[in-house]
C-alpha cells in the first residue's frame, strides 16, 4: 500500500504525526517551514543567549576562584559541588527544552535539520562542566539560524563557536606551538583541523593527506576562547605565521586581520568533495542507508549552481521522485523515536513541564513547591513516592535516550551518532524501545481507543498486520504500547 505524501512528509522529513497538526502536503510545504521557523527562538538556552553567557561566566568565575584558592591550600568543596549541581540542572532543563522543542514545534523539517546539523558539527556537553551550559547555546545561535542559508555561513558559525573550540581542545590556544611561533617546536594540536576535513567538509577518504590536516590545523592556530565573555577571539601572538598551502591554495596571515582561516573555510565549503560528502550524508539521514546516487547528484548540482545554498540543496532532494518512494527503509534514531512517541500521544507543554518538575523534585536541596510540601509532610512514603515519580519521569525522557544510546547533546565522538539500521535495529535496542513504549502507554495511553491512537500515530503508514494485532490486543495498555513498538512506528 502506498503511503500518502503528507504522511510520508511528516514521518520521513519531520518528527511524525501529531493530532491536530496538519502534516506537510509536499516539498513546498516542507521548505516553507524553514522560513517560518527562522523567525522563532528555540526554547533553549533557558535564559536566552545573553543570559546564558552571564550564567556560564558567573559559574566559571566561581570555579576559577575556588581553584585558585585551592592551590593556595584553601579549597572550598561546597562551591565546587554547588556549581557542579547548577550546571547539571541547567543541562537538564535545556535538554528537556530541547525535547519539547522537537515535540511541540509545528516545523518538523526544520527541527530534523537542526538535529542533523548539530550532529554533523558535533560537540558534547560531556566534555567539561562549562560545556553543559555552552552546547545548548551553540545549537541555538550557531546551528539553528544558519541551517537554511549558505553552507559556508553554517560552517563558519559552527567552527568559530566557543563550543567547537572547547570540544576540540582549541580553546586556550593550547596544543599549538604557542609562544614563539616555531612550527618545529611543540606538536600542533591537529584535532580541529582533522575533524574539519574529515567530518565537517571534505569527508574521510576524499583524497586529502596528512599534510593537508596539518596545514588546516596551522591555519586555525590563533583561534581561542575568551572564557569570561564566551566569545571566540583571535590571538595573533600564538598564531602560526608564514604562508601555508592547503589543497592548492595558499593562505597567508596578514599582519592586521588574520582572516586566513575564514578564507579557508569558504574555500572548503565550495569544494566539490564537501558537497558530495554533505549531500550523501543528508540522503543517508533522510532517505536510505544506501543513498541513491541520482538523488545525491541532483543535490550536488544544486550546490554547485547556488554556491552551497542549503535551501536549494534541500529542494533538489525533495523534488526528486526517490525522496517520496520506498518508505520505511530507515530506522528512527532514539531521539526521533522518542520525540515521535510524545507527538503521537499529543503531550502538552504543561505535561512536559510537569515531567521536568517531577525530576527536579528528586533533588534534595531543591526547594521547589513540591519539595516544600514534602518537607512539611515529612513522610517517608511521600518522599519515596517523589523519588519514584522522578525516576519515572526520567525513564520516560532523558534516561530513556541515555539507555537507547542517544543522550541529548552527548554524541559518542566528534563523528556524531550513528545513522544506520544495523546500529538502531538490534535486540538490545528493541528491548529498550518496547520497555519505553510500555511506560508511555501506562502514563499517557490510559483510556485511549487503540484504533484511534493507531490512526493518529501512523495514519495510512500502518500495515494490515499491525492493524489486526492492535485490534485484538488483550488490553488497551498493551495495544497502545504495541502501536509505539510497531515496525512502522520505528521506521521512516
Amino acid at each position: 500500500m502506498a503511503i500518502s505524501r503528507p504522511t510520508l512528509a511528516a514521518i520521513r522529513y519531520g518528527y511524525g504525526l501529531r493530532p491536530g497538526e496538519e502534516p506537510p502536503r509536499d516539498a513546498e510545504a516542507l521548505l516553507a517551514q524553514l522560513d517560518q521557523a527562522a523567525k522563532r527562538k528555540p526554547r533553549f538556552p533557558r535564559e536566552g543567549a545573553g543570559g546564558r553567557r552571564e550564567t556560564a561566566s558567573r559559574v566559571m568565575s566561581l570555579r576559577a576562584a575556588e581553584a585558585k584558592a585551592a592551590k593556595d591550600g584553601k579549597p572550598n568543596e561546597s562551591i565546587r559541588k554547588e556549581t557542579q549541581k547548577e550546571a547539571l540542572q541547567i543541562y537538564r532543563q535545556d535538554a528537556m527544552a530541547r525535547l519539547a522543542q522537537a515535540i511541540l514545534s509545528p516545523f518538523g523539517f526544520h527541527e530534523r535539520l537542526a538535529s542533523f546539523w548539530t550532529d554533523h558539527f558535533s560537540t558534547s556537553a560531556l566534555k567539561s562542566l562549562p560545556m553543559r551550559m555552552v552546547v545548548p547555546l551553540y545549537e541555538a545561535e550557531a546551528i539553528r539560524p544558519n541551517l537554511a542559508g549558505s553552507f559556508a555561513n553554517l560552517l563558519k558559525a559552527a567552527m568559530l563557536h566557543p563550543a567547537m573550540l572547547i570540544y576540540l581542545d582549541q580553546s586556550d590556544g593550547a596544543g599549538m606551538d604557542a609562544p614563539a611561533g616555531r612550527p618545529g617546536g611543540r606538536a600542533v594540536n591537529e584535532s580541529l583541523g582533522r575533524e574539519l576535513l574529515e567530518l565537517h567538509t571534505l569527508g574521510a577518504g576524499s583524497g586529502y593527506t596528512q599534510e593537508d590536516v596539518r596545514a588546516a590545523a596551522l591555519i586555525l592556530t590563533g583561534l581561542s576562547v575568551d572564557r569570561r565573555a564566551l566569545e571566540v577571539v583571535y590571538r595573533p601572538r600564538i598564531s602560526e605565521g608564514g604562508s601555508i598551502s592547503l589543497l592548492g591554495e595558499v593562505y597567508e596571515d596578514d599582519e592586521a586581520g588574520s582572516q586566513d582561516h575564514l578564507r579557508m573555510l569558504e574555500d572548503l565549503a565550495m569544494n566539490p568533495m564537501t558537497a558530495e560528502h554533505v549531500c550523501r550524508k543528508l540522503v543517508i539521514h533522510f532517505v536510505a542507508d544506501e543513498p541513491p546516487a541520482d538523488v545525491v547528484a541532483a543535490m550536488t548540482a544544486a550546490w554547485a549552481e547556488t554556491e552551497g545554498d542549503l535551501k536549494a540543496v534541500y529542494r533538489a532532494m525533495l523534488d526528486h521522485p526517490r525522496a517520496w518512494s520506498d518508505p520505511g527503509q530507515k530506522i528512527k534514531r532514539p531521539f526521533e523515536f522518542v520525540v515521535s512517541g510524545f507527538r503521537a500521544v499529543d503531550i502538552s507543554d504543561k505535561d512536559l513541564s510537569r515531567l521536568l518538575d517531577e525530576m527536579d523534585d528528586d533533588d534534595q536541596e531543591d526547594d521547589g513547591p513540591m519539595r516544600k510540601a514534602l518537607k512539611m509532610a515529612s513522610s517517608t512514603a511521600a518522599r519515596a513516592d517523589a523519588k519514584q515519580r522522578a525516576a519515572r519521569a526520567n525513564d520516560l525522557t532523558l534516561a530513556a535516550l541515555q539507555r537507547m544510546d542517544q543522550p541529548i547533546w552527548q554524541p559518542p565522538s566528534p563523528a556524531g551518532y550513528a545513522d544506520l539500521a544495523s546500529v538502531w535495529l538490534s535486540p538490545g535496542q528493541l528491548s529498550e524501545r518496547i520497555a519505553w513504549a510500555r511506560l508511555m502507554a501506562g502514563r499517557f495511553g490510559q483510556r485511549r481507543d487503540p484504533g484511534t491512537f493507531l490512526d493518529a500515530a501512523l495514519g495510512d503508514a500502518a500495515g494490515q498486520n499491525t492493524r489486526d494485532v492492535i485490534a485484538q490486543a488483550p488490553n488497551t495498555n498493551h495495544a497502545i504500547a504495541m502501536v509505539l513498538a510497531s515496525p512502522e512506528f520505528n521506521r521512516r
Binding site: R403, Q446, A471, H478
Partner: protein, 390 residues
C-alpha cells in the same frame, strides 16, 4: 433457555434452579457490617479474558472432559476438589486455606452485559464503566464513592501507572504506580511476536530479545514479584485510611499453550490475594471483600493450539474475611451442546455487576436504589439478591 443480552436470571430462580453446585444457602438475613467506616472493598481486574472453566473446573459435568481434552483435570489428575462438582486449578491452590476458612467463594457462569463482540477493549470498558454499552465515560467504582454514606469510607486508590477507568470519574480517587514496572505477561509477548511477524528484521530481533530475556531498564522486576507488590501496597494502604482499592493483573488471553500460561497467571492471582490478606492484617482482613473479575470468559472448547478463544460466561472470585465463603455460587447452565451460548460459550446466568452491587451494599450500606440508578444504571438488584444470602 435463552438469555437476552443484558438480562439477568431471576435471583429467586437461583434457589429453585437445578444447581448442583451451590450448597443450600443458609437464609440468614444480611446485616450491615458491624463497624461502619471500617469496611474495605478491593477489585482486581483480570485483563485478557480469564478462563473460568480452567480456574474453577466443572469436572462433575459430563460434557467437560470431552470439551477440554488436555486442559480439563479431575481430582485424580491434580484438580483440587471444592464441592464434589467443581475443582480448583492446582496452580491456585495457595487459596485453599481461605476456602477452608470460608473466606473464599467463586461465582460461576457470570458475565457483564457485554455480548457478541468478544473484543478485549470493549469488554474491559464495560467491565469498568459498569454500563450496558461502552459509552459511559466514568468507572463504576468511582461513581460508588459518591453514594457511600460515610465520607470516611470513600478514600480510594488505584494502583497503576495512571488511573484506570474503573476509578476514573468526577469523584476524588488517588492513583499510585506500583513499586516496579510490571514485566510483560505471556499473552502480551505472544502479541509482540505477531506484531513483528510481518517484518523480518524486527522478528529476528524479537527472537533474540526473547532468547536473552528482556534486559531493558524498564523491566526492573520479576513479574510475579510485582503483582504481589501491588497487592501488598493495596493492603498496606487499606490497613491505614484507604477503604477502596483496585489493581489489575494482565496475562489471561490464553490462545496458545494455555496449560502453562494459565498456571503462571493463576498462581499470581492466588499469591496476590494471599499477599493482600497478609498486608491487611487479621482485623482489616475480617472486614474486607475482594472481588476479582474479567471482561469475559473463554470458549468452552479447546482450540487447536492448546488454548481457548474469547467467550462469554466465566467466573468471578470473592475473597476476604467479610465474604460468606466456602462455596461455588451461581446457576450452573450445563455444558451440553444445547446449553451453550451460540453453541460455543458458557451461558451466563448471572451479572457480575450484581455481585459488585451486593458487595458494595454489604460493605458500605449503600441503598440498593442508589446502586441501580447511579452506580449500575439499569441493573436489577435488591436486598434479596442471592449474593447477599448466607
Amino acid at each position: 433457555m435463552t438469555i437476552k443480552p443484558g438480562s439477568s436470571l431471576s435471583r429467586r430462580g437461583f434457589l429453585a434452579g437445578a444447581c448442583c453446585a451451590a450448597a443450600a444457602p443458609v437464609l440468614t438475613p444480611f446485616s450491615v457490617a458491624a463497624a461502619p467506616g471500617e469496611s474495605r472493598f478491593v477489585t482486581i481486574i483480570l485483563r485478557g479474558g480469564m478462563d473460568g472453566l480452567d480456574l474453577v473446573q466443572p469436572y462433575g459435568d459430563a460434557a467437560f472432559a470431552g470439551l477440554r481434552p488436555t486442559l480439563g483435570l479431575t481430582p485424580g489428575t491434580g484438580l483440587v476438589d471444592l464441592d464434589g462438582f467443581f475443582g480448583l486449578n492446582p496452580a491456585a491452590s495457595a487459596l485453599m486455606p481461605l476456602w477452608q476458612e470460608n473466606a473464599l467463594s467463586f461465582v460461576h457462569a457470570v458475565a457483564t452485559p457485554y455480548r457478541d463482540g468478544r473484543r478485549h477493549f470493549d469488554g474491559q470498558t464495560m467491565l469498568e464503566n459498569g454500563g450496558t454499552d461502552a459509552s459511559q465515560k466514568s468507572g463504576w467504582l468511582n461513581r460508588t464513592l459518591a453514594v457511600i454514606p460515610r465520607t470516611d469510607g470513600r478514600k480510594a486508590l488505584d494502583i497503576h501507572t495512571s488511573m484506570e477507568l474503573i476509578l476514573s470519574g468526577p469523584n476524588k480517587a488517588d492513583n499510585r504506580a506500583g513499586t516496579g514496572d510490571v514485566e510483560m505477561a505471556q499473552d502480551e509477548i505472544g502479541f509482540l511476536d505477531r506484531l513483528y511477524a510481518a517484518d523480518a528484521p524486527f522478528a529476528a530481533a524479537m527472537e533474540e530479545v526473547k532468547r536473552t530475556g528482556f534486559s531493558a531498564g524498564g523491566y526492573r522486576q520479576k513479574r510475579n514479584r510485582s503483582v504481589v507488590d501491588m497487592a501488598r501496597l493495596a493492603g498496606g494502604m487499606l490497613r491505614e485510611d484507604y477503604r477502596i482499592a483496585s489493581f489489575s493483573i494482565n496475562g489471561w488471553d490464553t490462545h496458545v499453550e494455555q496449560a502453562s500460561q494459565f498456571g503462571s497467571v493463576a498462581g499470581e492471582l492466588a499469591a496476590a490475594i494471599v499477599a493482600l490478606k497478609d498486608a491487611l492484617g487479621a482485623d482489616a482482613w475480617a472486614r474486607t471483600v475482594v472481588l476479582a473479575v474479567t471482561e469475559f470468559g473463554r470458549s468452552v472448547r479447546e482450540n487447536g493450539t492448546g488454548g481457548t478463544d474469547h467467550g462469554t460466561g466465566g467466573v468471578a472470585v470473592l475473597a476476604g474475611g467479610a465474604v460468606s465463603g466456602g462455596k461455588v455460587m451461581g446457576t450452573w447452565p450445563g455444558l451440553a451442546e444445547d446449553r451453550l451460548l451460540d453453541g460455543q460459550d458458557l451461558m451466563p446466568t448471572g451479572d457480575v455487576r450484581e455481585i459488585a452491587a451486593a458487595m458494595l451494599h454489604k460493605q458500605f450500606g449503600i441503598a440498593p436504589d442508589k446502586l441501580t440508578s447511579r452506580v449500575f444504571p439499569g441493573l436489577s438488584f435488591d436486598r434479596s439478591s442471592i449474593y447477599l444470602q448466607g
